[in-house]
Subunit: 453 residues, 2 copies
């Protein structure tokens, strides 16, 4: 990643744009913005502080406004919407696809929603209401009800004539769906087959009915996994009765995968994904201080453990010098195990059936790493403090803490998952609390027992 | 993520499969494996310990062998390949697409590569050699040279007849590329247009020449960003002279995005992405101990700082009890800033043009959070140790360490990026080293100056 072969486009544009904005020449900025895709404009807006962001937003082609709103985070979106009057907003969003509109609708002022609904025809209004009736992060909310269906008892030629009459197809249409009279999904026909087969070929012969479909209640995560496992470009969404409700396309799936990865990275640090680079101070403080407070509790717990051994530390100050090493390295080892487990759980590779084997494997790795790192630290401690008993104590404490790390790293994510807490979010705090406490306790406890006698 | 609406398919399959394996009934296992897509089989194999993995691998339909090899991590791949004899391997890989074959080729024994190359026709052999001539993680290595091209001076009808003669199209063909006599890319025509426009329409009129193409030297990361910004299903790859070399499809892009996210999560914990759940103990130890060693160095540095204040701690043991709090919370605050910066850098949103604004913003957030958390900790310390000077010292130390955290969190990733080190990998160690050292130094230093007088 570090050595991208060509310079980064966004970063380069950002610099050019920033220079142009600083010099006050808006003409070049406007021209530049007009060459960008809506997602790129969104990315650019997110990288600008509030003042410049609003200047650039004013220069975006009104035709792109709706698509840009779809492509920015919640917080930036709010600031952009606050800057538009209702008429502009209605114009911006009324031509969006149903799935995009459903994604936006909660951030729009009520007056604008009413206006947009009134401007829609009845069919689209019903479709929007249907999509909005499904919970967020399910297939129902991601699908676009605009699908092209054909009947099985016809030929390639007839379908091609039907398509020419129909005109433009929904974006990313790579299959036509074959349905029966009750709109139940019978299979699908690839666009590729329509252009490579003889006009007289019966559609019946081209139907692929082996492919899985997506259930309307499937989670977004499950949808994403199915797309990447099966290399789909689009897939049909059906209900319990196998009735075709809509389709999901790969561009939305890419957004899901990116958002999941971001969510995981940010929430592991106690941030929510809507905090952007230029969030107002007040919001940034509020967003982060809760997480710091949680970590503070575990830090006090560890301090409390140390407090139990004040008398020991008073006599052997070297313990205070070395104890953060035992706790810290144990934490690193635990995070390694945790990270592997979180990935395994996310991929569905870890379950009750192999947890014991994993625990046994990690216990052995921990024992070996504990002995290796423990010996090294013991040796340095010996050279530093010339006390071989102290050396032995820190060696033993490290081996114990590596084993606690393995135990916590394997078991806690499984436990959190069972408690329906995302182990990617809460895992690190919990396992490092364990290794902090076990680290201080084993080191200071052993020292008290052995060295003070 | 925690409350997926439907039970997880892979986890369920894994349990069923595991039960069937344990009972020794291989028939149901075989039937189950045959219903899975190659990527799903790969995922399943990765979740099994070595012995069971080999049993299941023996049950996979030989036709799927090649695709499964493409879809597993390097380490599992090696173990699967080691289990096959050369003939099986040749049969498994010879029908793969050029891009998949290029991805596998380095893991194959030389004898097998020779055999596969001999079995290929000259055109495909040259294509494979061309793809392999580009560096890993560039567009050239990801592309598939098998593209369908048409000329501009023809009609929809003629193209359709040409396609019917040609037969099956490469997977995920959503566009045909229009080239001139020197095979330079002039634009592309959507398959959708071919099926919706009248047969007599000139191709000339359907050409879209506004779309970006991908340069053969573009980084995989840049390719992935272009796909998600532009909602592409496939995109043409050209060289400096705009000659069409191949195409990249969205299924490979999804793999890139997933791999990047995984790489980031794993490498932040000092793991490489090829370590799988059931890596041999020796490999797991070797892979992790280096990272632990690096962290050990920073832990010793912090211990060294504490060591400078042994005399102070001897007199005021409460300092030893409280000092991990100052260092720890500072580390949490720094990781928050770092995580936002790493995301911003990855999206190209952070550069020299806005670094100063960001630093200023983060400094203010740090000051407020430092005062909030510092007051809380100061209060608890007062209740605990009944010493208001100690209370004041820990308050001040926390404010100082929060500011160091902001400084390190903003500047270090920028510095690492300039040094061409991935901030997502090295960032956490470096910033927490700073906050550990600054935490201990400010707290113990202030205590020495103020409390010992």
């Amino acid at each position: 990643m570090a050595d991208a072969v060509r310079p980064d486009k966004t970063a380069r544009q950002l610099r050019l744009l920033s220079d142009a904005l600083d010099s006050g020449r808006l003409g070049p900025v406007r021209r530049m913005v007009h060459t960008l895709a809506p997602a790129e404009i969104g990315n650019l807006l997110e990288s600008l502080p509030h003042g410049k962001r609003m200047v650039v937003w004013g220069l975006v082609d009104p035709e792109d406004d709706g698509e840009v709103l779809v492509h920015v985070g919640d917080e930036v979106r709010e600031s952009l919407i606050a800057d538009m009057d209702p008429d502009e907003l209605v114009a911006a969003v009324e031509d969006l696809d149903i799935d995009d509109l459903a994604d936006l609708v909660e951030d729009l002022p009520d007056a604008v929603i009413d206006e947009v609904l009134r401007a829609m025809d009845r069919e689209n209004r019903e479709r929007l209401e249907q999509v909005l009736s499904y919970p967020e992060d399910t297939a129902g909310r991601l699908m676009n009800p605009d699908v092209v269906t054909v009947r099985a008892d016809t030929t390639v030629d007839v379908v091609l004539r039907f398509l020419r009459l129909r005109g433009e197809l929904p974006e990313h249409t790579d299959h036509l769906y074959v349905v029966n009279r009750r709109h139940q999904l019978m299979g699908w026909v690839a666009l590729q087959d329509l252009v490579t087969r003889e006009p007289g070929t019966a559609i019946n012969k081209l139907i692929d009915d082996e492919l899985d479909s997506i259930h309307v209640a499937d989670s977004a995560e499950h949808v994403a996994r199915q797309f990447s496992d099966n290399d789909w470009v689009s897939a049909p969404v059906v209900d319990d009765g196998n009735v075709l409700l809509g389709r999901i396309t790969v561009d939305d799936v890419i957004d899901i995968i990116r958002e999941q990865a971001e969510h995981q990275a940010l929430s592991a640090a106690g941030l929510d994904e809507d905090e952007d680079l230029f969030s107002p101070i007040k919001r940034a403080v509020r967003g982060r201080v809760v997480w710091l407070g949680i970590n503070l509790c575990t830090a006090f717990l560890a301090a409390f453990v140390i407090g139990r051994f004040e008398a020991t530390i008073e006599q052997i100050v070297a313990l205070a010098v070395l104890m953060p090493i035992v706790a810290g390295i144990g934490g690193n080892a635990a995070v390694q195990v945790l990270t592997l487990m979180v990935r395994g759980i996310a991929l569905g590779q870890v379950g009750a059936s192999n947890a014991r084997i994993l625990l046994w494997k990690e216990a052995r790795v921990a024992l070996i790493n504990g002995v290796l790192i423990g010996s090294l630290v013991g040796l340095v401690a010996l050279v530093w403090f010339h006390d071989w008993v102290l050396s032995l104590v820190i060696f033993a404490a490290l081996v114990i803490n590596f084993c606690s790390a393995a135990l916590a790293g394997v078991l806690l994510p499984l436990l959190l998952k069972r408690m329906r807490v995302d182990p990617a979010v809460a895992g690190t705090v919990v396992v490092t609390a364990v290794t902090d406490i076990m680290g201080f306790f084993s080191f200071l406890g052993l020292a008290t027992t052995i060295m003070l006698r």
